[in-house]
Amino acid sequence: MNHVITTDGLTKTYGSRTVVDSLDLRVPEGCVYGFLGPNGSGKSTTMKMLLSLLRPDRGEISVLGRTMDRRTRHELSPLIGSLIESPPGYGHLTGRENMAIVRRMLGLTELQVERAVATVRLRDQMDKPVRAYSLGMKQRLGIAMALAREPRLLILDEPTNGLDPAGIEEIRDLLTSLAGEGVTVMVSSHLLDEVDRMASVLGILGRGRLIFQGTRAELFDRSTPDLILRTPDPERVLALGLPAVRTHEGLCLTGSSDDDTADLVRRLVHHDVPVHGLHRVRRSLEEVFMDLTGREGLS
């Protein structure tokens, strides 16, 4: 598998505080890579280092097959569209004038700009000053600026911030369709559900370290779902000394592996406990994420 972004031992420290710690990212080509992590986990810092806006203290970054540093930044920048933190846009200028600045800055054609504006569906708003834009419109303009150069890689930090549900849906469709066209999209979001619905590969950060990286299915494999035992006689189960907790669904057993489950069934049969049902709980991505990040919550 080709990787558009690879980092090895990427580390960034401010004083005695390590913000990003030995990160080994692998972002496959043509996918939407969801970059998740609680507030302050180092997502934005990582993205800034990938764009060479911040210098790593340790580690290597390779983007589109080339080492990314201050010397190669100028050659790689035209191939990377990005949106970090808040969207860019000069408030006193109209959307059209802002796009004209981007066009001149990157030596783009009118057609490229028009196409980017049409993609984010902002055509009708281009003659308004940007200060009159809603946050959602500013986000779209920022994405149009990132798309105008027809990048091979898009790095977007919270691109759905401030968008209404319809706007979020549009951006999600846009990013997945871009990935379908071969553009690699790395997107961070505080909306887990959002990332879950568009990303094919996930990277989860916790306290600056990469806790997980892989597909959604691999993520669920990493976390053992709870076991729910339905029985009309829970007292007898509890008397057996099993680490079960009463819930409205039945008795809940956490951290039971498949072997533990087989052993449990054997013991229940041996003690003649009536069992009405035994199943694993379907867990949301959020629950898995909370488990992995030690219940730090989301940004």
């Binding site: 800034k48 764009l51 806006l53 911040l54 210098r55 930044r73 100028h74 920048s77 035209p78 990377i80 990005s82 970090i84 933190e85 808040s86 969207p87 860019p88 846009g89 000069y90 408030g91 006193h92 200028l93 004038e97 004209a100 600045i101 981007v102 001149r104 800055m105 990157l106 000053p129 940007v130 600026m145």
Partner: protein, 253 residues
Amino acid sequence: MRMAVGLEVHKTRRLSVWVLCLVMVIAVVALSGMNLFSENAREGFADPAAQPWEFLLLNQVMISAMTSPVLVAVLAGRQVDIEHQGQGWFLARVSGLGPGLLCRAKAVVLGLALTLTVVAQCVLLLIAGLVVGIEVAPPVALWARYGLFLLLVNLALLGLHLWLAARVDNQLVGLGVGLLGAFYAVYALLMPTWVAYVLPWGYYAAISPVAMADDQLIEAAPIPWAFALFLCAVAALFLGACRHLDRAEGGPA
């Protein structure tokens, strides 16, 4: 650099840069030329000993010392604030343009605006003097030298204010510094000569082409080596600061 300058020209739209310059030209010409309409002054229009042009020039020195620091601070603040507010530093960085390059380009564009402002002030004051009837030959060379020195001091302070505006998000800081600078420039005109060489704003007084001596105005000039040293130091500091901004991480602030 040419592209960056072009972008800065594009960004000046709706920033009222030209309106501010025009207002400043009108203010300087009106305030400096107020005395032209007094009876006392009119009586000396044909008498070289009354020094009508020299007094007009001295008025311009005082009014320029009062207004130029504020104009420079406002122009630099407005042109840089758009980068802070609009994430312009980031946009430029990811497009291969460093903050230092943006600051240099802003210096070129605002420098042009200040050049036109100073030229307009000097020319309009000369025309005003001729129109109201001063018959004595105008000291064009002296006036031109003052205009050039005023422009150089403006450009030097523009560099300082651009750096300050880039480093400090809150543009009221730059404006406050400009206002204090204006007070200092005016007081330096009234204080012993050496005071004018202590702070950059004092050079608005140091470049005065005329000075009072026994109720008469005599020709004056700044200490050449001090003035040259000031200009070279500010130019070196500005270019060094721009280089540092280009090498620094993230935005300049």
